[in-house]
């Protein structure tokens, strides 16, 4: 699946997007966040506090219990601050 990072998550992870092959145990947004955080380094830093993060699956906001599957586009970002 495709993973996107915005704002300080993008800076910590060091990239804006990537394609990942998640194991079959990654069934939700929360599973994906935990799996990415386990990579350590910038990922561990970016995903250290999930309460500070928001997510969107295929450009729809979703909480961390939302299911993800191969082919989905999952975005992680901090709470929005436009306007």
């Amino acid at each position: 699946m495709k993973v996107l990072y915005f704002a300080w998550l993008r800076q910590k992870v060091g990239r804006g997007e990537e394609t990942v092959e998640a194991p079959s145990s990654v069934r939700t947004v929360g599973d994906l966040a935990a799996w990415l955080g386990a990579r350590g380094g910038g990922y561990a830093d970016a995903f250290a506090d999930l309460k500070r993060l928001r997510a969107a699956v295929n450009q729809e906001y979703g909480d961390f219990s939302v299911a993800v599957k191969a082919g989905d586009e999952v975005a992680f970002f901090p709470p929005v601050t436009g306007g």
């Binding site: 996107l4 915005f6 704002a7 300080w8 993008r10 969107a56 450009q59 906001y61 975005a75 970002f77 901090p78 709470p79 929005v80 601050t81 436009g82 306007g83």
Partner: protein, 147 residues
């Protein structure tokens, strides 16, 4: 009409689009980058967004406003990229037969835009770079519309 762009916009032109005989009231909100933040001089502000999702969310917010109020028109223009103090950053224009609908819809659009549209602000201040934190007052402002 929804636009996300790095170029500046002209509030007068956007208001003028709605000046028609069936429109009695046009309300506009123009957001401007302020020159101070957290007691420090702001050097610049950079807006990042989620291309595609931003436009979808803004469209959705506009449709929601049109279902809640009888509106003749809605425009939302939001800039992205690097902006200096005093520059325009966002514009919302609403047009309706009567003023109350136009006022309420414009406030609603701004409140929802602040909490739903995937934009992120990074400030360059004298002491360094900072990502702007979401404000609970914006969440509260948006929440009043679901009462």
């Amino acid at each position: 009409m929804i636009r996300v762009q790095s170029e500046d916009f002209d509030p007068g032109v956007e208001i003028g689009r709605f000046q028609r005989e069936d429109v009695g009231a046009i309300v506009s909100f123009t957001g401007v980058v302020r020159g101070e933040s957290h007691g420090e001089r702001l050097v610049s502000m950079t807006l990042e967004h989620f291309p595609g999702m931003t436009e979808r969310e803004l469209e959705r917010i506009a449709v929601e406003a049109r279902t809640r109020w009888s509106l003749q028109g809605v425009s939302v223009v939001h800039r992205v990229g690097e902006l200096r103090p005093g520059e325009r950053i966002v514009l919302v224009v609403t047009a309706a037969a009567h003023r109350q609908a136009a006022f309420e819809a414009a406030e609603f659009l701004m409140d929802y835009l602040k909490t739903r549209a995937p934009f992120w602000k990074r400030e360059l201040r004298a002491s360094g770079e900072y990502w702007v934190e979401a404000r609970s007052s914006d969440d509260e402002a948006a929440a009043r519309w679901s009462r």
